[in-house]
Symmetry: C2
């Protein structure tokens, strides 16, 4: 596999849309992670291959910015590629396209690879003799015109609610799954926000949490419709942080990046 | 479309499996409902076609019984067909097959059609001049060797917990979605139950609930690993009832129907 960019087809199922008929952000996130997983897999860098050498990918950041969200029964495609590789992190980008191929949104992500025994990060540049560098796209192929991941500063976050975690929250590794955090975070917002629609969603994964952990959600409202959310567990350890930007007015394909 | 049985392919995605690596029952339920939706759609009985005449399908019962649950990265297929049509209900059955075509489980469902204005059930036998009867399979094609839907009798159900409903619980009709109830119900059980695995899951949908409703979950443990769960809302109105039968010992493909 010498090609650098993959295309992953998606279909928006009825139970995967919210009350406005748009895909849930968590479901879209899941599709992006599947696209990423397939892309790695086909190049020998997938979870299966890595498990044999006891390494695994860990998602650190994900930022999604949409001009519009795909709607029920829509067929879309996701293109994904590796933007860059550093010693401990790799940047992977995405573009989301409608059935005609026009872009309707973009996403950026940051991944680390860890040794499953020690849980410590690995040197990506030395693993498999730097093979991963073969898949970094050239600058002109890296079309991802959205801002990079922001920085979080929680100064006066207000406690909103605590939630207990159960069976349905947990993935095959026994961790609360990355997508479930997105659901729990968006559940902090009222109905009206989703009528306007989400323009941008960012999340930074900081620490794992586990089935049975109680999550405490804190919210900090900023200017221009920006809200930051911090999820802490048990004694206050930060699990993840998110930034949500809702569209200023009702979103009907009119948002531009 | 004169063929009566459809086949719907599924792939078990990483975020769709639980900590044991088996597909979540809610995700499997979603695949069954998608298979049903496609089957109806292709025969002119889908939601889109019905909406034009202001009718819609409502799921009343769903019972799923598995010899084993599909596992991460597995490719399976779902076959679905109409078993029978009565005036106010239709019975739709399913079989779930592994990649070699061998059955690994079955499901039964009951659907009503309602008029969206009056919310009252319609006469299926007179709608479109009884066209739906063309799709009822012959007896020999109705291979679904699992018990019918059981009857619920709640005599000493114990209150377990109340949960608030939010944005992520709600479908495009503004109702708490059928699949989310399955998640909330299974979240009542401890980790150990899922190590054994679910052998049979039944649910009866009684009344709709809406974003913001508080759901109260009651549990009644019976003999032979059978647990019944009743979900009530607000002042005690019954929303749905479920029966869960876990495998008696750790499930490793050894359960037989």
């Amino acid at each position: 596999m010498t090609e650098k960019v993959d295309t992953h087809e998606i279909f928006v199922e009825p139970f995967h849309v919210d009350f406005t008929g748009r895909i849930f952000m968590g479901v879209l996130g899941n599709h992006l992670l599947n696209a990423a997983g397939n892309h790695s897999q086909r190049r020998g860098w997938g979870i299966g291959a890595l498990n044999e050498t006891s390494h695994t990918w860990v998602l650190s950041r994900l930022s999604i910015e949409m001009m519009r969200m795909p709607e029920q029964y829509e067929r879309c495609s996701i293109r994904t590629w590796v933007e860059s590789v550093m010693k401990l992190f790799t940047n992977r980008n995405f573009s989301i396209h409608d059935a005609q191929g026009s872009p309707i949104g973009y996403a950026r992500s940051v991944w680390a690879m860890i040794d499953m025994q020690t849980r410590r990060p690995c040197d990506l540049l030395s693993l498999y003799d730097g093979d991963i560098l073969k898949y970094v796209v050239s600058e002109e192929d890296n079309v991802c015109p959205i801002e990079g991941h922001g920085r979080f500063r929680f100064r006066d976050a207000q406690f909103v609610r605590s939630i207990d975690t159960y069976y349905s929250d947990v993935d095959i590794n026994g961790h609360i799954n990355s997508i479930k955090y997105i659901e729990h975070i968006l559940d902090l917002f009222p109905r009206e926000s989703f009528v306007r629609g989400i323009r941008r969603f960012e999340i930074a994964y900081k620490n794992e949490s586990y089935m049975g952990d109680t999550l405490h959600l804190y919210r900090q409202d900023g200017a221009d419709g920006v809200t930051d959310v911090e999820v802490r567990k048990n004694e206050g350890e930060v699990v993840c942080q998110a930034r949500i930007i809702f569209a200023p007015t009702e979103q009907n394909n009119e948002t531009t990046l």
